[in-house]
Symmetry: C2
Subunit: 355 residues, 2 copies
């Protein structure tokens, strides 16, 4: 049995894999594969509409927001956000909390002035900056709600009159958020939404249409809204599996229920990290991510041995990102708490062996 | 039994569906789904490299060209081509052969001057213009090799000193072409490559880097080439299924073998259209597509009845695009000739019944 702690693309529920596998052979008893149906067929239009509907339902998306399934991942959103929202002569404000925020900043600079309101760069991004002020004349303020590499998560969404844009790629659908606190949310699918290849965007319609630059059709949110998320051929299979996964989430009790489980999983693992003298966490305690638990060993020379033991127990994908080192256990929605217990047991067994 | 004549996303080989379905449960005996493996895992890096390798092999891609699997479909390429290649102060030349060419032209105009060297617009795009001249000072010349809606195909690739860019979305891998005749080829996957969600680009490296405008990273071919087609999380499953499908093509004898089959399928169907007094083709005979066979009925009032008969025999997806009407039978690589025979039989049965 494998316990997939990979940072993404990542584990999805086993029943989603079964349903998706079946649909590749015979989708909804059509006698056709989900891979060969037209995106303009009534069957797929229903999938697309249901996927949008269930996003709205699970996240309580208020009126006045559009939900889109696009392509290109968060990386394309970095450019699209600035292209669509950074008005000429204005500046954009960014919170620099990691390498993904840095990439978002880099793309925004192609379209105008960027002010970095705060950064935890000097501490290798091991905390979320607080107490900064957001310029009132900014076109928007951009945050990254969860930083996979460093295991930090932004729990207090800043209140401001400036539109708030959030890269929620790695913690969307993991905890209750108030969509009305945001003006645009985007997320690559490949953590808690579905397989790689789709990108979810939730955007408040009224913030659009305020820039004068020419925007290619495929990069224009308004074009995709008018096309009802089907301006061109969408990533059919990724959207279908996202629908399956979000239905699974709904059947589990929705975001409120999964948030409890996620807290239980994270608490159990952080408790072991804090208790076990061989390990220590790398992120500031108050900013610890519930999705990506980053830790190192007091004696780094033992890390290879622990990795080996964990892998023998079926724990995969726990090697930390090279910029932090040590370990990163990603514990997304679909990872069962039993897998977390296996990892904790490995940590305890290791400590016992080496004491 | 269904005979899928859909225009795309379209039929793929049944054995590809079986292999893909299995990989969603257990990919290459890893004990993991193809949907949950990291795109940086050695397993997926091998998939990506193999997919690029088999494209180069099947199409005999010469040295000096890069092969990329991107996202966003041909629609995003419309903008990327102009953004990356339309030098400031130069103009781009386009051949207008249908609605997709028109969309490509629209996006190019955002980045500079466009000259339409010839158009078959006045004839509802039912032929491929010939005998036009390409301005020698153009930044590039853009063609669409196959026009799904109108059932036309461009067989004589123009010889010119100007870089030739080709949207090959609907006939790539269906016939032998000489890659050296082109400087950039792009194609949405969802016809003869694989499922929707991936976009193939084959680009001659030396044409890049000649524009001065700022290009967002995700839209810059050079960035994707440097990232070895993995600058960001790629559409893992679409690329994997594309690899399976191209392996199937190779096992069938490659492009030379499939081209023979495609000619046999198209010839059989066009012969029936020309022979059967109830039907007539809509495209100019010399430009008839081997991928999309468009035809109408001499008496349009009978079209509903024929559609019903064909559907009773399992032929689906044959309704013509609204701008042409009648029927469109898409007979991509994976559609067996036996399916074409079923459609021909339906046409003969219909004629017999109504004579």
């Amino acid at each position: 049995m494998k316990h997939n702690f990979g940072a993404g693309p990542c584990i999805l529920p086993q029943e989603v894999f079964k349903q998706a596998s079946q649909a590749v052979l015979n989708f909804n008893d059509t006698g056709l594969s989900i891979l060969e149906i037209s995106h303009r067929s009534k069957e797929f239009i229903a999938v697309s509409e249901d996927a949008i509907k269930i996003v709205k339902e699970l996240m309580n998306v208020p009126e006045g927001y559009s939900v889109l399934f696009l392509q290109g991942g968060a990386s394309l959103q970095f450019a699209m956000v600035a292209m669509n929202l950074l008005q000429e002569g204005k500046k954009a404000a960014y919170l620099e909390t990691g390498v993904w925020a840095k990439k978002a900043i880099k793309e925004a600079k192609l379209f105008g002035e960027v002010e970095i309101v705060a950064s935890s760069k000097d501490a290798n991004f091991n905390f979320i900056p607080k107490g900064y002020s957001i310029p009132e004349d900014a076109a928007y303020f951009h945050i990254t709600s969860n930083n996979t590499i460093y295991g930090t998560e932004l729990f207090d969404i800043p209140k401001t009159n400036v539109p708030v844009i959030c890269d929620m790629s790695s913690d969307i659908f993991s905890r209750d958020i108030n969509v009305a606190d945001f003006d645009l949310i985007y997320a690559g699918a490949q953590k808690n939404i579905g397989p790689a290849g789709a990108t979810l965007v939730i955007v408040k319609d009224e913030i659009l249409g305020k820039v004068n630059r020419t925007i290619p059709s495929m990069l224009d949110y308004k074009v995709h809204i008018e096309g009802e998320s089907m301006y061109n051929t969408p990533p059919v299979f990724s959207i279908y599996v996202s629908l399956l996964n979000l239905k699974w989430l709904k059947s589990k009790g929705g975001i409120a229920a999964i948030e409890k489980e996620n807290i239980a999983k994270a608490d159990a693992l952080y408790q072991e990290i804090d208790r076990n003298p061989f390990f220590k966490g790398t992120a500031a305690v108050e900013d610890r991510s519930r999705m990506n638990v980053c830790f190192v060993m007091e004696n780094p020379e033992l890390e290879k041995d622990f990795l080996k033991l964990a892998e023998e127990k079926g724990c995969i994908g726990i090697k930390g990102h090279r910029s932090v080192g040590g370990f990163r256990a990603s514990i997304y929605n679909a990872l069962p708490i039993t897998s977390v217990h296996v990892l904790i047991e490995a940590m305890q067994e290791f400590a016992e062996k080496h004491k």
